[in-house]
């Protein structure tokens, strides 16, 4: 019973993908909230379109007007204007919030308080913090093999060293790779940024709540591409500062 409770508890508090998942993971950052919002908006429009079009198709195919007006119509300026203008209007309705969001996402790293460097390797991630003067925190993050998992751990998703970050803080992430292409991805934080050898890509986010956020390498990078997960642990600012100050780091 205790094991069962621990298992359920662990899977509940962790922000990871789950079997047969179709929707998004819960948002961990404002940008992710916006993305979900935009997605819902578009899906709302889509539902109306699909409904109307299906209704028209069924009506025309099955209705009692088989030999009626619509089947013999060769052209009609009015209907052409209507079904050009309405889709155009709908597309504008989608385009503006979409562009707005695109620009918001682009400016994520602009006002950062913390910079972390992420480097993709075959096949692990390494993180480093250089903000704090002479104290240079640098560590590798390997996946924990299935045999070593503990109860409640997520298979192929746990790592030995998590990336620790504070909540409510603008974080700049600088991503590069040491060997081949990788991609640093955390769905809950709305981050998916390619790691390219010889290039530094900047992105950023603000974590809203304490939690453990899981992601996986998203650019095929070789044999163990599936076995280099990403785990971000967000903690309160004071705990973060405690962690930074630790002697053993």
């Amino acid at each position: 019973m205790k094991d069962f409770i621990k298992n359920v508890y662990c899977s509940l508090i962790r922000d990871a993908n789950e079997p047969w998942q179709l929707g998004f993971q819960d948002a961990g950052s404002p940008v992710m909230e916006e993305i979900i919002m935009l997605h819902d908006q578009i899906l709302f429009i889509l539902t109306i379109i699909v409904g109307v079009v299906l209704w028209l198709i069924i009506r025309i195919l099955l209705g009692n007007n088989y030999y009626s007006y619509y089947w013999n119509k060769l052209d009609g300026s009015l209907i052409e204007v209507i079904w050009t203008l309405i889709p155009a209007f709908i597309l504008i309705l989608i385009a503006f919030p979409s562009l707005r969001l695109l620009y918001i996402m682009d400016e994520c790293g602009f006002s950062a308080n913390i910079t972390i460097k992420v480097t993709g390797h075959q096949w692990y991630w390494s993180y480093s913090y250089e903000d704090y003067g002479e104290k240079n925190i640098e560590f590798d993050s390997y996946m924990i093999p299935t045999a070593d998992l503990e109860l409640g751990d997520l298979r192929l998703l746990e790592v030995d060293n998590r990336l620790i970050l504070p909540v409510d803080t603008n974080v700049r992430v600088l991503i590069t790779a040491a060997d081949v292409l990788h991609s640093w991805t955390v769905p809950s934080l709305a981050v998916k940024m390619d790691a390219v050898p010889g290039r530094i890509n900047e992105t950023g986010f603000l974590i809203k709540r304490p939690g453990i956020f899981y992601g996986q390498c998203s650019e095929i990078c070789g044999a163990n591409h599936s076995f280099m997960p990403i785990v971000v642990e967000s903690v309160s600012l004071s705990k973060y500062i405690d962690w930074i100050g630790r002697e053993d780091l």
């Binding site: 910079t115 250089e130 704090y132 040491a178 940024m193 010889g198 290039r199 530094i200 500062i241 405690d242």
Partner: protein, 81 residues
């Protein structure tokens, strides 16, 4: 422990208008080169040079810096210092 805590300031490299894009490679590079030029002109202990060093340490992947330091030492660095 508490003494250590007081030293930590949450401050990082500021946004640089010269590099407004996702690609920050040249941001790291420029600060590295600027530091090398600075210490060449003013010497290693010149206070203002440390600013560039701080920025490039924040912006550059560590293995790049190691490689470039080695190249500078051997005189094979590709940039003009």
């Amino acid at each position: 422990m508490s003494e250590e805590k007081e030293k930590i300031v949450l401050k990082t490299a500021p946004f640089d208008n010269r590099f407004p894009n996702t690609n920050q490679t040249k941001n790291c590079w420029q600060n590295y080169v600027d530091y090398q030029r600075c210490i060449k002109a003013k010497g290693e202990d010149f206070e203002a040079c440390q600013y560039f060093k701080r920025i490039y340490r924040i912006m550059c992947p560590n293995h790049w810096v190691e490689q470039w330091d080695e190249q500078v030492e051997n005189g094979t660095f590709a940039g003009r210092i």
